[in-house]
């Protein structure tokens, strides 16, 4: 239906004007078309170095065209741009590290996405997700009661693994308010249980909110920043209401970036800082290990590598901590090359995973770079602290016959940790 709607150039221009900044102007003026950004982009590398995949060209074909035509473009043009802005860039920002002027192609692509979103040009699944956030507060349309029930069920079931395991809901004045990716209650409730086990074992004073428990923010990628701001505000509000000291994001990449770095701007926080400190499971688990609050029976023995999610290790400050945590937990950690902030995107981010089946083939082609990186390490285990990367690497595993197993930190810690005697379930106590 929207296919027949005329394009509203004013709406597009309003987005461009809103995003018109001195740095955007400086970028447009300085780009010397040197091409240095090309080989930094995994899309370019995975698509046989086809020039159409080089970052600057993609920015030019989207935002550039919109600006040049002052928003007066046809639906057909918008559809073409959609395939560039969503299916050829994950906004991973690696290219800005390689550009002599630090031009942020990802930001330009993001503005282009916002422009297109005003015309309802956006991968369908991502648009539905915006709706789901508005109606349910989470991307998977889970009612709050169902979430709370899942937690109760997981706590009860988890008592077989850790005596008296609890998942406190809406507890006030805690140190940590832990929030999850709604994939967890929907498909992987074990994840919630395992996170709870780690925090319980570490003696953490923590809670989960019955409302505002969703950490993901896919509206950041659909280009609907109004909804993105609402999602973030709900999260902040929950923490403020419960007077939690910190918000801790589960092992999810973009959720951390949204809550810590972009969210403060969507919600107009003074100084661009979140009103409540935002941390991530990687940092939390790192501190438990470092402070000796979690003890291990032994380290993980097999060769294992680590996927540095772009949103944690490049757009977030967790590259080094991720590596350190790997060293603390594993005997034989083999990093991928390049890694940390220079890591390649796996092509799960930028909204790619939820874009669904239509885009799977593109995702598998572009993921080749990551598949090869993994293969080169020779490791059969890959630790992945991000849900979107997890889905992507599991898919790559099948596509490229990698023969690997994907793990998360909480899963690994639960497997390795040495529970104090009073936490061991009946029958396992040593006394």
């Amino acid at each position: 239906m929207s296919d027949q709607m005329p394009v509203n150039a004013e709406e597009i221009m309003a987005v461009i004007e809103r995003n018109d900044s001195a740095r955007l102007r400086a970028w447009l003026k300085t780009c010397t078309s040197c091409g240095l950004c090309s080989e930094s982009c995994f899309f370019y590398l995975a698509n046989d170095n086809k020039p159409e995949f080089m970052p600057q060209y993609k920015a030019r074909k989207t935002l550039g065209e919109l600006m040049k035509n002052k928003g007066k473009v046809t639906r057909a043009q918008l559809e073409e741009m959609k395939e560039v802005a969503w299916a050829r860039c994950t906004m991973c920002r690696r290219c800005s590290q390689y550009c002599p002027f630090g031009i942020e192609i990802a930001v330009m692509i993001n503005v282009a996405r916002q422009c297109m979103r005003t015309q309802n040009v956006c991968p369908d699944r991502l648009m539905t997700i915006d709706q789901s956030y508005v109606e349910f507060g989470n991307q998977m349309s889970i009612p709050d009661e169902e979430f709370v029930e899942t937690c109760e069920w997981m706590a009860e079931e988890g008592q077989d693994r850790l005596k008296d395991l609890e998942i406190p809901i809406d507890k006030e004045d805690t140190n940590i308010m832990f929030v999850v990716n709604s994939r967890e209650p929907k498909y992987y409730p074990q994840d919630i249980q395992e996170a709870a086990m780690v925090m319980h074992a570490a003696g953490e004073n923590w809670t989960m909110p019955s409302h505002g428990w969703e950490a993901t923010n896919l509206s950041m990628f659909s280009g609907n920043l109004k909804v993105a701001g609402q999602v973030t505000q709900t999260l902040y509000d929950a923490a403020i209401k419960l007077r939690a000291k910190k918000i801790c994001i589960t092992e999810c990449g973009h959720a951390y970036r949204a809550a810590k770095y972009e969210g403060p701007y969507w919600t107009k926080q003074p100084g661009g800082k979140a009103p409540v400190e935002v941390t991530h499971a990687v940092a939390l688990f790192h501190s438990y290990m470092k402070e000796g609050r979690i003890k291990l029976k032994h380290k993980f023995k097999d060769a294992i590598t680590y996927q540095h999610p772009c949103n944690l290790s490049r757009s977030g400050d967790l590259g080094e901590l991720g590596d350190e945590l790997m060293e603390m937990l594993c005997e034989n950690y083999v990093p991928m090359e390049p890694h940390r902030e220079w890591s390649h995107c796996c092509c799960g981010g930028g909204g790619f995973i939820p874009m669904g089946a239509d885009y799977k083939k593109t995702r598998m082609v572009a993921g080749k770079v990551k598949a090869e990186q993994i293969q080169k390490t020779g490791a059969k285990f890959v630790l992945v602290p991000c849900h979107n990367c997890t889905d992507q690497i599991n898919d790559l595993n099948k596509e490229y016959n990698l023969g690997i197993k994907v793990m998360s930190f909480k899963e690994l810690i639960c497997e390795l940790m040495d529970l104090p005697p009073h936490m061991k379930p009946e029958g396992e106590e040593d006394e």
Binding site: D20, S21, A22, R23, R25, A26, W27, K29, T30, C31, T32, S33, C34, G35, L36, S38, E39, S40, Y44, N49, P51, E52, M54, Q56, Y57, R60, S96, Q97, Y98, C99, P100, F101, G102, I103, E104, Y261, Y265, G271, G272, K273, S313, R314, S315, G316, D317, L318, G319, E320, R340, E341, W342
Partner: protein, 216 residues
Amino acid sequence: MYAFVNGPLVWIAFAVLVLGSLWQIVSLYKMSKRTDKVYYDHYNPGAAAASVWAWLMPFGSRSWREHPGLTVGTFAFHVCLIAVPLFALGHAATLEFNRGIAWPSLPDAVADKMTLVFLAAALFLLIRRFAVPQVRIVTECKDIVVWVITVLPFLTGYLSAHKLLLDPDTMLMLHVFTGCLMLICIPFTKLAHVFLFFMTRAFIGSEFARRGTKTW
């Protein structure tokens, strides 16, 4: 004509260069105060300086290290581009003769060699534009125009110093003329990256530093 080119035009060119650049910098700065809150919220002078520095050094950034050929070409191009006009004996002598300012200079033979290095590097960059598909696809007409504007003063300078092609006086006039043209174009074309480089790098250095990562 000769008198105008070698006299007032030079002053006009310098005035346009200075005032034009200042105007660009001031207007962008003012705009940034309004539009780049994120930059002022997280401004990190150390990271900004480190980011600028790493990219000013050959092989100082990861990107330079991964592209050694282009790095050598780019640095040869830029070092000669700045050093030759600044320290050419002819320029120093002119300055001293007209204004009585003593200025350090390079021996003629060195400036001569550096001009050739510059021209070779420029040719390399031009060929690269057309030969490398990912560069060709983003190359526009204005990239070529800017290239020509930058190369002409060096070419004419070399030709006039060696009394080639045209009679030396005419060639010298062309040299001064094209030199002025380049100076005038700096603030208003892609050549503005001379000064904008520092702005954009300071921004990205700070922006990535706030996320605990590096851009070099």
